[in-house]
Amino acid sequence: MRPFLSVEKMSVGYGTTTVLDKLDLGIRKGEFVALLGSSGCGKTTLLRTIAGFTKPFSGSIRVADRDVTQMPPDKRGMALVFQSYALWPHMTVAQNIGYGLKLQRQSRENIDARVNEMQNLLGLAGLGDRKPGQLSGGQRQRVALGRALAIDPEILLLDEPLSNLDARIRLTVRHEIRSLQKRLGITAIHVTHDREEAMVMADRIIIMNTGRIEQEGSPEDVYNKPASPFVAAFMGAENLLSMQARVQGEQVELMEGSFNPSIVTALAGRTLATGPIELRFRAEAARLARSEDKTVLQPGTLELRGQVTSVSYPGGHWRHAIRLGENEILVDADTPFNQGEAVRVCIPAKSLFIFNVVEGLAEARAL
């Protein structure tokens, strides 16, 4: 089945700079897709090009087999919610929401009915006569959403709509937007740099880096099976170690180093070659044990020996910085260990993200 929205071999840039090079993307009807990446990765450019505010150098954008590449923004059946909300300060809430319908020359009664419907849907009832300046951040955000939804678009485009909200409100608005999208069955593309936001809201996450798609998949997939060091790091596996690996058949051996004995584990779908590797894991995936603790480890568990350099309590668990020679890693534990204590760090095989060292590593490290 052809995707509902498809982007084919699209190149976009400004002046002589190319931001996106021959990018392909397909989105199904009713799907909620998050474009995730750090600033400057091209995710907003991609969204603006889909919306029609930026013209691509080449390639095409199709919606339901209709080529919209050269169409103006309003003919594409899409509505964009801006990061700054872009509400018109001189118009009331009702005028803001109804403006798109006014442009469509709908009758006064139709507009009023639709504006009311939107206000009720978004919990803005009774605020119709207020100006945007008299609303809270969360209310403004909902007005922006209402203005976009009022024209009944096929595709809703969201450009970091939550980044200007207080942290607490953000958590509730995430769920509000997600449940609204499900209820309306609308196709949505959401640009964000917040990993957790993308995980909670999206059916599918597309991780972008330097104008390319690094990986796309369900939240579980990109979280548990990162396809590149960049994705692993972006999805929170910030601990980084360099090692040597030897691949034999379906097994990979991580060679003994200054801080670890060697282990052998199954490749388990990883594509690896013998040679230098980089190994990443999350602070919460590792387990801390005292060095005299002689519990037998499950086969394939990587064991590291180091020293606690600092302990902090970010909430829920204790976070330890562990020194391994030149490197420092972060490991969580339910109970605190003493500063200066020698410890064992045990990481189960399934939590190890192993990649061959290739060019481009410097970029990933920079994160």
Partner: protein, 273 residues
């Protein structure tokens, strides 16, 4: 105590300047407006209204028409600079529109006098193009000439303010309207202008006050009756040495500009809140 004295000392030169060169002459001329012979009275004002009430209306009408035209033109130019999609023509317009600002009023008057006269450059061109016959030509050296001169000279100034305000608008408020299908004209009228109306108003008020005080343009273009109050004031003093009526006319134009200055003050107070 000493620092307070020092602070006063620092302010003093500015204070003396204002009192000596601004407040004192202003009060003297206001007082002078009520001096009739050796006593005080309203004689100068009744004489002013008898002789120049037509000129007062003429002045207000001309300056008001000019203000409206300046407003429309500056919105049009500023709007094109903000919403124009052809980068080259936007760049050319941006470079061109400011030039009249640097030309003095007297030169504007002189240039337009030779351009707008019955046998001036404009009519010569129209005749040579065959659009008009020499008999159909009319000079524009009356109220129309003054309006043209004012608009020509003041539009760039207001446009400068308006275009600046438009450029600093949140671009996404414009894109949001485009996203919903608004044409560029509608975006200008319904989205852009309402957001910069404060700046536009201030620019127009400053222009209004400037035009009220210009003497050279009415003298150069339209010295016959009816003419503007500035020309009358100059005439009372130069031809009759009649400072009383001149001062009364000055007070009357002061009251006219005070009306718009009040709007200006209220606007700036609102902006500061």
């Amino acid at each position: 105590m000493q620092t307070r004295f020092l602070a006063l000392l620092l302010v003093l030169p500015a204070l003396i300047m204002i009192v000596l060169f601004f407040i004192l002459p202003l009060f003297a001329s206001i007082l002078g407006a009520f001096e009739v012979g050796d006593s005080f009275g309203l004689g100068n004002f009744s004489k002013s209204f008898d002789l120049y009430s037509k000129d007062m209306i003429f002045t207000v009408v001309i300056v008001s028409i000019s203000t409206v035209l300046i407003g429309l033109l500056s919105i049009a130019i500023g709007g094109y600079l903000t919403l124009g999609e052809n980068p080259r023509s936007v760049a050319i317009l941006r470079w061109l529109y400011r030039w009249p600002m640097f030309i003095p009023f007297i030169v504007v008057g002189q240039v337009l006098r030779t351009f707008l006269a019955k046998n001036g450059l404009m009519n010569n061109i129209l005749v040579s193009l065959g659009i008009l016959t020499p008999l159909q030509t009319t000079g524009f050296l009356d109220w129309r000439g003054i309006v043209i001169a004012f608009v020509w000279k003041q539009t760039p100034f207001v446009t400068l303010l308006v275009a600046g305000a438009m450029a600093s608008l949140d671009r996404s408020t414009i894109e949001a309207a485009r996203n919903l299908g608004a044409s560029r004209l509608r975006i200008l009228i319904e989205i852009v202008v309402p957001q910069i109306s404060g700046t536009l108003l201030v620019g127009l008020i400053l222009s209004f006050v400037t035009m009220m005080s210009v003497l050279s343009v009415p003298l150069m273009i339209n010295a016959q009756s009816p003419t503007m109050l500035t020309a009358d004031i100059a005439f009372r003093i130069n031809a009759h040495g009649d400072y009383g009526v001149a001062n009364a006319l000055g007070v009357i134009s002061l009251l006219l500009t005070a009306g718009v200055a009040l709007i200006y003050l209220r606007q700036t107070m609102k902006d500061r809140l």
